[in-house]
Symmetry: C2
């Protein structure tokens, strides 16, 4: 049987178990040019929620469809050139045990690595951090880099890559425990609990020389505060807006836009990791080397059991994860 989680209905405000619906169907049969893939890891990402809100860089999710999401899997049968049984592949085939897909929708991993790394640190979230920080953010040694959702999948990687680039690194996260962990375990220079109140004052103290690069995973209050502390010609890497995804009514936009963008000559630039996939192999190799050398800790938060996918995603918006959250099947 092919177990599936369907996207059942659009959430009003927070996603709930009712957002999803369990179903079981037959294992699909691959046609010529297709491979049958068995899912091994499901990636849980804030973007999953954003796709429910309307058209983004992809069409909005439609109720009744298999819930979308990145996944890593193993080819169990292939009628596609270039793919063979046992190959490890990744793609966006959603929350199901099996999928039959044309080769162009599968990315074959050539370098052996643990599935826990392939679902995040050495794949989409690692690449998001890598290209977003280095290419969009253009940090220079000595810069102060702020990253929001710093204890998350992308944030943990951004902070560590920024340290390798010689920057002072400050993160925001929910709760003092996570903040302490960022400093102690991941080498952040400082971390600020955004839930503790006095956010701007805490950031002023954590960023005594202002902010040169803000890697924005959240939008919302951290973006507001960061804008007020950006240095001249600072760069804001617009990666996500997670503070506004799982809410009924989004907050107003940042008051400082466009005023401070003008007077401080800021650059705010959005990106999607796929825009950089022509340089994917290069970046994967560097990330893998950094992880192998112990220069970067790949932080993963693996939850066992396909049936737990909805609650694992709900927990992501409650800030229950550290690093990359994924479901192992």
């Amino acid at each position: 049987m092919n177990r599936q989680w369907l996207y059942a209905k659009a959430p009003v405000g927070k996603i709930t178990p009712d957002t999803f619906e369990w179903t079981e169907t037959a294992i699909p049969v691959p046609r010529d040019g297709e491979a049958l893939v068995r899912t091994r890891m499901l990636s849980l990402d804030p973007a999953n929620r954003a796709w429910m809100m309307g058209k983004t860089y992809r069409d909005a999710l439609a109720p009744g469809q298999v819930m979308s999401g990145f996944a890593v899997g193993e080819v169990v049968e292939s009628k596609a050139a270039g793919l063979a049984k046992g190959d490890i592949v990744e793609g966006d085939w959603g929350w199901q045990d099996y999928a039959a897909l044309p080769a162009r929708r599968l990315y074959k991993r050539h370098t052996p690595a643990a599935l826990e790394l392939l679902i995040g640190p050495l794949s989409v979230t690692g690449l998001t951090a890598y290209f977003g920080l280095l290419d969009v953010g253009q940090p220079k040694a000595g810069d102060t880099v702020l990253v929001s959702a710093a204890a998350g999948a992308v944030g943990t990687m951004v902070g560590q890559i920024a340290k390798l680039a010689g920057c002072r690194v400050v993160g925001t996260a929910g709760g003092q425990e996570k903040c302490d962990w960022l400093v102690r375990e991941l080498g952040f220079d400082a971390a600020v609990d955004y839930r503790a109140g006095g956010l701007r004052r805490a950031l002023v103290s954590a960023c005594p020389a202002g902010i040169d690069v803000y890697f924005d995973n959240t939008g919302g209050p951290v973006l507001d505060a960061a804008l007020s502390l950006m240095n001249l010609r600072g760069r804001i890497v617009c990666c996500g807006n997670v503070s506004q995804y799982d809410v009924e009514k989004p907050a107003p936009g940042p008051m400082a836009v466009p005023g401070l963008v003008v007077t401080k000559r800021l650059r705010m630039e959005g990106f999607i990791v796929m825009d950089f996939y022509d340089r994917r192999a290069e970046a994967e190799a560097r990330l893998a080397q950094w992880v192998a050398d112990g220069r970067i800790k790949a932080v993963v938060d693996i939850i066992d059991g396909f049936e737990k996918a909805p609650e694992a995603l709900i927990g992501l918006f409650e800030g229950r994860n550290r690093g990359k959250r994924a479901v192992r099947i």
Copy 2:
């Protein structure tokens, strides 16, 4: 006597005649290294109002000081190397008949041109349009360029330079008469009256292929609407926020920031014309040539009489000007 307009007190909401105070004082005597300049033209700019709101790229105006502003003048006495009686210079010496200034605060114009052109189209506002559009906006032939406050000093130049760059050019302005004038006299492909209601729908119709470059002079509702119509990898040139300068309570920021910035991979970038002054001579020469060739119409709105400076600035925020507004003394 040296007539002066002082900045008397911070406005609450709109500027009024009471924002300024008339005074007369002695003509200053230049010291060694200084030149005495007689003001010939005073530039009126939305930025004058922004400087009253707090620190921007310069310190906030302080009540009691001579009102700041760009000006063009004539050297009437010089104790400064490189400056001689009769030289035409520009600088920021504010609203007064005379000022004694060190040479480094004066920019000497070498190319003869009418003072009406030197106060705007061939100087600060022309350069703002030139560098902002071409360097920050990076338009390509065939792109759709939207510019707000299109009938203003910067907007009239942006639109015409964008036409020279082979773009489809759409402007927003207040009132149908200005809109018709933009199309008929300045060669805009379309213009939208932002006061007429149905702004977004009108922009959809004026920009059937979406917007590639939005040159934002206004912030506010036009920025909101433009964000929703930007094409993938579009550029928003953040030049000004005039819709929010002359108000008591600024409107909330754009809801689409950072959400659409991410999903559309937009770049929003602020600039100040002075950032580009190392290339000033090159740009001035090109602008002068375009004006001389009749490829660009330099639109100026000259008001005679120093005593009229406050009402001329107030009128700027009421949209009474077309092109560059200045006071001739």
